[in-house]
């Protein structure tokens, strides 16, 4: 497991673009929203949490394609499925590293985004907590779509069509949590629901991803 994680981490760090570009997309699109709709900048605005979460969803989706692409093209993925004595663990490690580069990274950028959006500093930690709990579900569910579409040369639109409906619960509870934080209400209830989404995804998604990868490898 440790070796797997190390390998994935090194591989991700060597292709920085797959991590930095989606992050740039997130920052830029928040900038665009803030310019186009001054209401978003307002701390009291109800739009803020929804814009925030929709953009996180889209950013996550952008980074999904890179999850298996390189190893698929080089044939390493096939080797992994054949030789790893527990492909499940290997897939989980891959998803975890993807989350480090997407969900966790966005979480760490919350203070910066919060300053841009005029949030009060005491909100940063609760929002970071919400993201920490919610974003694993995105990487996990997204891995199914990434695994299914990795064999397509142009899988982007299909990936969106397959995955965005599955992201809906995360959007709803994540949005409710952030909205509660921003308006100063108790946010425990939606946060627990969000945790439920992540744990269900953690138990089921890797199996589906495994099955999907087997299909994609055969397609090659």
């Amino acid at each position: 497991m440790k070796g797997l994680l190390q390998r994935e981490l090194v591989a991700t760090l060597r292709t920085r673009g797959s991590v930095i570009n989606p992050l740039g997309f997130l920052l830029l699109s928040i900038l665009l929203f803030a310019i186009a709709d001054p209401g978003v900048r307002d701390e009291q605005s109800k739009d803020l949490s929804s814009v925030f979460w929709v953009l996180i969803l889209l950013t996550n989706m952008l980074s999904l394609d890179a999850m298996f692409r390189r190893d698929f093209d080089s044939g390493a993925l096939e080797q992994m499925l054949i030789s790893a004595h527990m492909p499940f663990v290997a897939i989980l490690a891959r998803i975890f590293v993807h989350w480090l580069g997407s969900g966790l990274l966005i979480t760490l950028f919350v203070p910066l985004l919060g300053l841009l959006l005029g949030l009060r500093p005491e909100m940063f930690l609760p929002i970071m907590l919400v993201l920490l709990v919610g974003t694993p579900a995105l990487s996990l569910l997204g891995s199914i779509g990434a695994a299914l579409t990795v064999g397509f040369s142009r899988g982007g639109a299909i990936l969106a069509l397959l995955i965005l409906p599955l992201f809906l619960p995360v959007l709803i509870f994540g949005n409710a949590s952030v909205a509660a934080v921003v308006s100063g209400q108790a946010y425990t209830a939606p946060l627990v629901w969000l945790a439920l989404c992540s744990s269900v995804a953690l138990t089921l998604a890797p199996w589906a991803t495994w099955a999907a990868l087997k299909i994609s490898v055969e397609m090659q």
Partner: protein
């Protein structure tokens, strides 16, 4: 005696996913469901449109219910059926499972779209808007997108075997997710709109109103069975086109025609 045992064993073997057995056994089913659907839909439609009493609040506009509710019911049931077919296809690699998914998709998309459209038409006079972000409405829209996603995926994969497995997998994943999506959407809705409309669910609908609805629902189910089975039969023929039994099936009438001339 031994002949009977072998023939019943044979039949059991065929039952485990033989396209030919399926084609032969469903011949009468398709007729049965087709005739039932025609009868039930005609009776239910005339009953619902002309004879059921008008609603005391909504007047005649409630009659859209007789199309809207069955369409939504069948649209959801078909997705569930697709999930079951996906499971069967993934576990037992049964060819017919993929045939079933392929045959269900167009009707599922059509009925879900019809449910949304008729709901919108109904919503205009009763809710005062074409579209309301109500929990059920949104989950039906998401259902439509799940259908479309599988459809797009099937279109994108050329190899029929892999296409079957991918579609089965996504159907199964979608089925697991439907309750989650449904409850989260309902929850979100109650969070934002505490007092929503409940005109669609009358606590005490008189039998003169719900009986035609029942007839219509049965009719829609029969129609769906007829439609899906017919499509499956056609798909079986297309896929088995090179086998001997299909050729014999179509060679016989052609040969008799040619001898007539």
């Amino acid at each position: 005696m031994s002949g009977r045992i072998t023939s019943s064993l044979k039949q059991l073997w065929h039952k485990l996913g033989s396209p030919r057995w399926f084609y032969e056994i469903t011949h009468n089913w398709v007729r049965f469901f087709g005739v039932s659907a025609l009868l039930l839909l005609t009776v239910g439609f005339i009953w619902g449109i002309a004879f059921a009493p008008a609603d005391y609040q909504q007047g005649n506009s409630f009659r859209i219910m007789y199309v809207h509710v069955p369409a939504a019911m069948v649209g959801q049931s078909l997705y569930l059926g697709m999930g079951v077919a996906g499971f069967v296809g993934l576990v037992w690699r049964m060819k017919l499972a993929d045939v079933a998914i392929a045959a269900t998709l167009p009707l599922g998309i059509g009925l879900t779209a019809l449910a949304l459209f008729s709901g919108s038409v109904w919503g205009r006079p009763t809710w005062g808007s074409w579209w309301e972000w109500d929990g059920r409405t949104v989950s039906t829209l998401v259902l439509l997108f799940l259908y479309l996603g599988i459809y797009a995926l099937r279109e994108a994969i050329a190899d029929s075997n892999l296409r079957a497995r991918a579609a089965a997998l996504v159907s199964l994943v979608g089925t697991v997710n439907i309750p989650v999506i449904k409850y989260s959407v309902d929850w979100w809705n109650t969070l934002h709109q505490p007092a929503s409309f409940s005109l669609t669910e009358k606590p005490a609908m008189p039998p003169e109103m719900w009986l035609p609805l029942l007839v219509m629902a049965l009719g829609f189910y029969c129609f769906a069975a007829h439609n899906v089975l017919s499509r499956m039969r056609l798909e079986v023929l297309r896929r088995e086109g090179k086998t001997r039994w299909v050729n014999e099936l179509f060679a016989a009438p052609a040969a008799s025609q040619s001898t007539e001339r």
